[in-house]
Symmetry: C2
Subunit: 353 residues, 2 copies
DNA sequence: ATCGCTATTGAGACCGGTCTCATTATAAAA
DNA sequence: TTTTATAATGAGACCGGTCTCAATAGCGAT
């Protein structure tokens, strides 16, 4: 490795002290115009590039925001990440991106690494609300933390989420209003055994809220034990297919499905097609996230539009304001969603309201 | 900010010298078992977290790979990035991600920042082949550089691309074989004036190769001046729509379109639909990149499947091997693509072969 | 008992910046 | 002209690790 040019080298070249050269190069303190010119000329001649690492070490600031996200492959997250990067860069920050794969251990490891790298602040989509010790650690180390998409009741930090419960209620209501009484809800959140054993066992706040909203509206519509049709563990395409398969083969096949994310929905849609069923005549479908594919299918899919980019932008702004020294009680921002009604919802076939 | 625990603190707690504590904490040198236990105990008691920044400063290695990518929003790149992150993490590296928005100035700035952060190596998708001075700088600074998706004739570094020319030829051949004689090629690469003025003006290697392949097959099929139907500047949805609009309104409307990426293709597809035209009866469509939406449309879209994840994995492996000290001439890996024939290609309506 | 060799440990320089404080030069005030 | 305030510069400590080299200790061999 070629030894890189340092302030000391520039100082020598410009015949000034290291301190003076550093003042010019670092843009702090005061120096005479003449000396400034000399140093700048020397720096250019030697092609000096500041070592941000060394700079960070003394200042204690790295200019980096650490991001731990569930799954970059999910376009909801890639939009959020794009929102984060754009906002961060505009404010002069860089981003280190890690994805946890929704695994709590990976998430902990990622946080440990990021703290080691002395990031200035972190943005995390916590995969679990049970184990938040590592997030407490961040907070305790004096580094600001902001939560994206999922709130943590026990952790009093800046949080940006969408109105999950309300969105789920509105989406479900569209289905019940048109007459559906057998509605399935499919989510990626996994359980030992994939079986639903009660809301309090769901440790991902966004998902719990959605299911709460879903169940509430179902009950309101007179559906008994709607939780029978809540399905967990659609973490990967194969799993989603297996779950959907069982759902579609059952004697009491649901007449409508609400998908918790677009990765799940696309598999469900494919499988419905593959079975020769029609949307919405045989099965209605609504999904969370306005993924690009939802508008080009026939029929196009009715979706809950989550402003993912905005979500990323909002957390980042909150975090940066704190990084810039703003002192204030932590804020919980809830961004409203809207439902884009397209063509994937229709009255259930066999029955009428 | 709470002062963090340092090796000196641990050393004091364990009643050994800083050097000794550093040896066990840093995992180098030799220490007696007894002392090791003491130090470890002290570290745990104090909740010591190594400062990777300081560590990087002395070792000269940051354990970070810098990535500059064209546009994360493009799912081709998000898959590639996923391949990069997964591979990097598996080898113990972290990733700093920046996107250039295909802007050369942004790319240069990103490279400067990453070098400042003393990343161990870089992966770049160069947006231009004209101006590579900043990439030369990387190389010159002794940091390994690897190119993703686009080759640079003048730059002798590890490069991983797909067989763009060949892929374009095969895709075009499918169209000419079935009888198309008016075929448009739409790409995001922009030009002052959007007008085609010759291959040598295209500074993105992947795009040039594709267009070369496209034109070659067109000519072979007896099409005169096929370059009349090459369209540039589909950088954003609105631009793509404008371009497509013009294309579809022309008296010599193309009977087939080849799209350079899936972001372009989806807009084209939407617009075709909007105009009441049918795929493939009125217009055939093939696109690069097997985006998820291409398999759920009616008809599903015929695509050039680029193994994006694999591409990311391959460059990262090449880079890491070099980071680990492997000395060898630079390698140019070309990954083969395959065409997935679905239902978006048909014989042109008015004419027959 | 003395010597030699090896296993441990300690002291302190170093990485490349920032930053405090002392010193010198210069200009304004008395 | 002398005093004093102010601007500009230099010397060197510091951040939190790594690493070299010297010092000490423990052991068997002679």
């Amino acid at each position: 490795m070629i030894r890189s040019v340092t302030v000391a080298d520039v100082a020598r070249e410009a015949r000034v002290s290291k301190a003076t050269a550093a003042r010019v190069l670092g843009g702090y303190g005061v120096v005479s115009d003449k000396v400034r010119q000399d140093v700048l000329a020397a720096a250019k001649a030697l092609d000096y590039r500041p070592n941000e690492l060394a700079r960070s070490m003394t200042t204690g600031k790295s200019g980096i925001i650490g991001v731990v996200v569930g799954d970059i492959e999910n376009s909801f997250f890639s939009f959020a990440v794009r929102g984060i990067s754009d906002t961060a860069r505009a404010a002069g920050f860089n981003v280190i991106l890690t994805n946890s794969g929704e695994q709590i251990e990976a998430e902990k490891a990622a946080v440990r690494v990021l703290i080691g790298k002395r990031v200035d602040g972190l943005i995390v989509t916590p995969s679990e609300s049970r184990d938040v010790s590592h997030l407490r650690d961040i907070h305790r180390s004096g580094r600001p933390l902001a939560l994206l998409d999922r709130a943590l009741p026990d952790l009093d930090v800046d949080t940006v989420t969408v109105d999950d419960r309300n969105a789920a209620m509105r989406a479900t209501k569209i289905l019940t209003d048109i007459g559906h009484r057998t509605i399935a809800y499919v989510t990626a959140v996994d359980f030992a055994g994939h079986a639903y054993r009660g809301l309090e066992q769901i440790y991902t706040s966004s998902v719990r809220e959605r299911i709460e909203g879903f169940l509430a509206v179902c009950r309101e519509a007179g559906i008994v034990t709607p939780e029978r049709f809540v399905r967990f563990g659609a973490t990967r395409p194969e799993a989603t297919r297996a779950i959907t398969d069982t759902l579609l083969s059952a004697p009491d096949r649901p007449t409508a499905i609400l998908a918790s994310d677009s990765l799940i929905a696309i598999e469900i849609f494919k499988l419905i097609r593959q079975r020769g069923l029609r949307v919405p005549e045989d099965i209605s479908l609504i999904t969370f996230h306005d993924a690009d594919w939802t508008s080009v299918t026939s029929p196009p899919i009715t979706v809950v539009d989550q402003p993912a980019y905005l979500l990323g932008k909002a957390v980042t702004e909150l975090l940066i304001r704190r990084l810039k020294g703003e002192i204030r009680p932590s804020q919980r921002v809830v961004i409203p969603t809207s439902i884009i009604e397209r063509g994937s919802v229709g009255a259930p076939s066999g029955q009428k309201t």
